[in-house]
């Protein structure tokens, strides 16, 4: 072994050690500041953490683009929905008067909110795009109460880090971090394009998270649970999406 290759070997070794240490420190810091997504695994953990951490730092004060009234899609697509069953039909027939939203977990005052009460809260309206991971999209005017208003009302505890939200469809549940939950554009939507939110689009109650893809915008919301740890929900990956192979964070 000559001098050159020995020097090269040492440099390479040192660089590799520095790189590994750097990665270790970065992972530790990411963990400390809550920048590791709950579905970070062996294969895709690095990519998901980089995306989530980078976008959390970038999007701290960002607002989803709002469009003009003329840009609202004439023919929005609701996507396919599974049959909602007789119980849903019964509620629908009653004008969803019996629809309740449960709010529990890390809150000072757990609540069971009838739809009429939710609709009486201060409303916010936005013309934003919803984009599906498949590639298609549409723009609509959404109206509803900011999720932050409801979280303040029930007294979200400071240690809460995520909001888990569940649907009338039991196999579709999601969660978002507090950055998205408290974001002014995150709505519990009850209206669309000036009317009631149609059932195919998630009526009577849909969570709108405009800075993330369509599948985080769960339809038929029935329950919000605040937590500091997602391990206890489902398989502990944060939502039903990673259980079906899809990323938990969908800001892409």
């Amino acid at each position: 072994m000559n001098i050159i290759s020995r020097r090269k070997l040492m440099t390479t070794g040192l660089l590799a050690a520095a790189g590994a240490t750097g990665l270790g420190v970065a992972a530790k810091l990411a963990g400390r500041y809550g920048l590791i997504p709950p579905d970070a695994g062996v294969l895709y953990g690095a990519g998901e953490t980089l995306t989530y951490a980078a976008q959390r730092l970038l999007t701290r004060h960002s607002m989803a683009q709002e469009f003009s009234r003329s840009q609202i899609s004439k023919n929005p697509f609701a996507n396919g929905i599974d049959a909602l069953g007789p119980e849903f039909q019964r509620l629908q027939a009653g004008g969803f008067a019996e629809w309740r939203l449960a709010v529990d977990g890390m809150v000072a005052r757990p609540a069971l909110l009838p739809l009429a009460v939710i609709k009486s809260f201060p409303r916010s309206t936005q013309i934003t795009m919803i984009a599906c991971e498949e590639g298609w999209s549409y723009i609509a005017e959404w109206s509803g109460v900011p999720l932050a208003h409801v979280l303040n009302l029930v007294g979200a505890l400071p240690q809460a880090r995520y909001v888990v939200y569940r649907s009338f469809q039991p196999d579709w549940w999601e969660s978002i971090d507090m950055a998205d939950a408290l974001h002014p554009q995150t709505l519990l939507a009850t209206g669309m394009n000036g009317g009631e939110l149609p059932v195919p689009f998630g009526g009577p109650l849909r969570l709108r998270v405009p800075r993330q893809l369509g599948y985080k915008n769960v339809k038929y919301i029935t329950r919000l649970t605040l937590t500091d740890n997602l391990k206890g929900f489902g398989k502990g990956l944060g939502s039903s999406s990673p259980e079906g192979g899809y990323a938990w964070y969908a800001g892409i």
Binding site: T59, F77, R211, Y246, I252
Partner: protein, 289 residues
């Protein structure tokens, strides 16, 4: 593969040697002299200065490492990109588009989603989950590798020395000559193996400074979170659906580059050139696989 054919087909037009731009010519000829010696003989020469000269690689180590990292990530991006495309093989222009709106064009393939009208009576298996995880992870590898390579390229003078064509080479005559040689599939000469020819330089610059930045930009423009931070990056492209359509076109150009690139490597001597990109050493260019 061409290796089975005789080299006679190519020798006819190898008459003209390509001009190597001014400052690079000197050290090229220097290296060529050393490197044409058999490896054993070079090792036997022993003294430090001679060793330093003789082991100067065809491609610097950083170029070799970033080349293969980019190769791996590009192949991952390509396979997963095709999988993601299959879930909605319809393309639009503007901000929005879905199955209820007219398309710019459709790709006549079946889809992995039953909600897309394709005219086929069946639905392909849905591979979007892992494809999306891998697509974005591979994109990180490609971007970080690209940043390292571009930093090195500027800092070490790799772009200036090896990729930027000499102004005198950019005459229409030289360009026509270069394109003619490529179209006649002329094999490179021994000297040319130590440098990039004019068409190669221009193509690599196009890929590095136009196509790769464009494919990253159009990709990021599809992210709702990124769009919330840099809305202009989406509107300049004509909207999110335009960004998606452009992402496809730029990817097609990158795939075309890959095909031509691999073909040219085969033409120049697959083992020899791939070997040079792995070990840094350029063997005898007429060596048979």
């Amino acid at each position: 593969m061409y290796h089975d054919r005789g080299s006679e087909d190519f020798q006819g037009s190898s008459g003209h040697v390509f001009a190597i731009s001014g400052q690079t010519a000197e050290w090229h000829s220097n290296i060529i002299m050393h490197c044409q010696l058999p490896v054993q003989k070079r090792r036997a020469m022993g003294t430090l200065t001679q060793t330093t000269d003789a082991v100067r690689p065809r491609h610097p180590a950083l170029v070799r490492v970033t080349h293969w990292l980019t190769t791996l990530s590009f192949l991952a991006l390509l396979v997963t990109g095709v999988e993601i495309l299959i879930s909605h093989p319809r393309f639009y222009w503007g901000e929005t588009g879905n199955v209820n709106t007219p398309t710019l064009f459709k790709i006549p393939i079946p889809s992995s989603r039953g909600t897309v009208p394709t005219g086929y009576g069946y639905v392909l298996p849905d591979q979007n989950g892992w494809s999306r995880y891998l697509h974005f992870e591979a994109a990180w590898v490609a971007v970080l590798t690209g940043l390292l390579y571009v930093g090195f390229g500027f800092f070490q003078g790799h772009f200036r020395r090896n990729l930027l064509p000499a102004p005198s080479d950019l005459s229409p005559k030289q360009l026509a000559n270069g394109i003619g040689r490529r179209l006649r599939f002329t094999r490179p000469t021994e000297e040319e193996a130590w440098s990039y020819n004019l068409i190669q330089r221009l193509t690599y610059l196009l890929v590095i400074f136009v196509l790769f930045p464009l494919v990253i930009w159009t990709g990021l423009a599809m992210s709702p979170a990124i769009a919330s931070v840099f809305p202009a990056a989406v509107t300049i492209l004509g909207g999110r659906q335009s960004a998606r359509t452009l992402h496809l076109f730029v990817s097609i150009f990158l795939v075309l580059f890959l095909l031509v690139h691999v073909f040219m490597v085969c033409l120049a001597g697959f083992r020899n050139r791939v070997g040079a990109m792995i070990t840094g050493r350029l063997g005898q260019s007429r060596e048979r696989a």
